[in-house]
Amino acid sequence: MKIYDGKYILIGLLVFVGLATFPIWFDHGKAVAPADPSLNTPVIAGMMVKHCILPKDQMITEHMKLLNVWRTEVVRYGKRVYVAPNGEKYEMSLETECFRCHSNKAEFCDRCHNFAGLDKASDPYCFSCHVVPSEKKPGAVAMVGKESK
């Protein structure tokens, strides 16, 4: 079988396949560092039984849904207290409840969000309005960082 301009076409095809599969072979075999969100905050360290509002697995996959439900309940229905499935009560507030334990946004929230590929532009924009603890008292995050070393 004769292909007209076969040489150029084949070279072109090879280049195309190489470029198209670039993301696959470029990262192949490289270990990706785990997100490793840090739970090393003074409040969590002081907890007898370490637990979040919902079981850990559920928090990992559903925290954004939970926050969305909280937002609706607080802003639109004026309900501000959440009763977790285990009966414990929580104030539905990112600032006073979530950040009470997770006072290390850079080592907790950001690590996972960055790992999941949420770059600056698509970062959950919660924090453009909701005040992050490090902004509360300058140096708070740095202090936690030192403790973990």
């Binding site: 937002r71 309940e73 802003v75 639109r76 229905y77 004026g78 309900k79 501000r80 207290v81 959440y82 009763v83 977790a84 499935p85 009560k89 539905m92 507030s93 600032e95 006073t96 924009y125 453009s128 309005c129 909701h130 005040v131 603890p133 902004e135 509360k136």
Partner: protein
Amino acid sequence: MEKSRRDFLKIGGICALGLSSLDVADAFAKKRVTEFLTNPKAGTAKRWAMAIDVKKCWNEGNEGCTECILACDLAHNIPDIPVKRQEVKWIWNEKYENAFPGQEESMEPKEVKDKPFMVLCNHCLHAPCVRVCPTQATFKDPDGITMMDFHRCIGCRYCMAACPYGARSFNWRDPRPYVKKINPDFPTRDRGVVEKCDFCVERLAIGKIPACVEACKSKALIFGDLDDPESELRKALASRFSIQRKPELGTMPGVYYLI
């Protein structure tokens, strides 16, 4: 295998029963549904409203007193933007002629003409801003507060055009750098979002009174339930003559001025 019409209907019936039992089983399987409660300390009212005793404000307060404004700015992270037309205001003062246009008749006492009137969102019963909001980002709470859901605001500014009191401000730029001291318990806003007084709904929810009312040293701001004849507010309104801003528009404002 031949099936009679009768058998077909029987099987069909059993299938339908089986399918519908799924929901019933689900309902029983759920031990408890998540609950959302209000704080037991939260203040309750049919309609929150305010009366501003202008005499107390002028006579007992110091000249140029802005305690209420400062308290509000601090509580709600309100930016101090130097460009006049980009200002963000929740409570501010206005001259009589601007606060009550159409009601001035040039013969008022000098005091009325010169002294400041505190103005804020009127939390109207028939709020024009709520009617025009295309996303229902602004809405009426069951307790009479005209609320803002900043998350849902798309910044179209219809509400600003609709509000006859100029009580709404638009964030033309990121307000964060202009907030002098950030209150960590209240969010700031994003660029492109409209904001206004919320009668301190977040403070009412934990049993406190609005920040401006608390801050006023001369107790010129009276806050309470307009539907409760025993409230301090209703007693004040019953004992003194009061006026409202632009009553002719039929918005039924919730802010009264005791003259």
